[in-house]
Symmetry: C2
Subunit: 195 residues, 2 copies
């Protein structure tokens, strides 16, 4: 049963997949037409060869410069700063934002040995000036590390003539006051807005 | 971004993986060392070539006959009948049962067009007689289809000199009467035992 165990082992190493889910997937593949396994194997094997970081924004792309950075139809004076490449896709899926992106590739986390130097920050100031960015939206996560990183970037940009904003933090839509944690509720008060 | 979308698409077709989990896995693979993707791709691609059905019991194996069927140290007079190959692994993980297995490859489900002829039943009676099986344990799921199939097999075996038993159905260990459904609670009464 080694080939089966190998597949189960490989899947259970992926995030969010436990031993039982991995076994379920492996048996599903065995019961299904082999084309499904073949396609999965092919897609996964070419992933690293075909995907690279965009030279400009740092998100994933198959080319030197990604589609968003190349798109002249977008608002090229607004720059949204995110932690990870997947954040770009998350925000794109909402179809609310039409500006450009800048991916940091992480957050400042001293305990994990990640300082500002490990992030894609060096190109940020020159990019803002050269591309005549008017507003920078800090969209790092509302966590300790994300807040710290946002604060740090805000400080770097103090002497650059650009408006710096931060995504609103507060009660999730459809949420219930009763189930909101203290910090979120506190923030929703601080960030309250008029009608 | 096609190569990335392809991987997300491929993963989201697997059972228990939604679009968001698939995206998370794809980004995890991209951030991780490429050896992880390569191993996963290789393991999945050889799966169908290396795994086949055991000629005797019908569970998965890399050889003509599986390890359990070949193991002379097992109780060769008890036969546990299960629906799917993965049920063999689930039961083996418990280390309670030491007999042999017979995999049906499904259950009788008229609505889905599965009748007794589609199951591995034809070899069952001859196997029981030739291998001098003394007890057949019906371990199909406690569902309508599983119960129907168990009943059907019990009927076929009526004229064969073999003891036929069915796995106990009742309250799960650690469960709470309050959360038990009616059918389970009713079965736990019918199947009650003395101390």
């Amino acid at each position: 049963m080694n080939a089966l165990d190998d597949v189960i082992e490989s899947f259970s190493r992926l995030p969010g997949i436990g031993k039982k889910s991995a076994a379920r997937i492996a048996h599903y593949l065995l019961k299904s037409d082999r084309s499904i396994s073949e396609r999965l194997a092919r897609d996964v094997s070419v992933l690293h060869d075909r995907i690279r970081m965009c030279d400009i924004c740092g998100s994933y792309t198959e080319d030197a410069v990604c589609e968003i950075c190349r798109d002249s139809g977008r608002d090229r004076h607004t720059l949204c700063i995110v932690e990870q490449p997947q954040d770009v896709q998350t925000i794109e899926a909402v179809r609310e934002y039409r500006g450009l992106f800048h991916v940091l590739g992480g957050v400042i986390a001293p305990l994990e040995g990640v300082g500002p130097d490990q992030l894609r920050l060096s190109s940020l100031v020159s990019r803002i000036q050269e591309e005549q960015i008017q507003e920078v939206i800090l969209a790092t996560n509302p966590t300790v590390e994300g807040d710290t990183t946002a604060l740090y970037i805000q400080k770097i940009l103090r002497n650059v003539s650009v408006t710096v904003t931060r995504l609103a933090s507060g009660l999730p839509v459809g949420g219930d006051l009763e189930y909101a944690d203290r910090l979120t509720l506190a923030r929703s008060f601080r960030g309250r807005s008029g009608f």
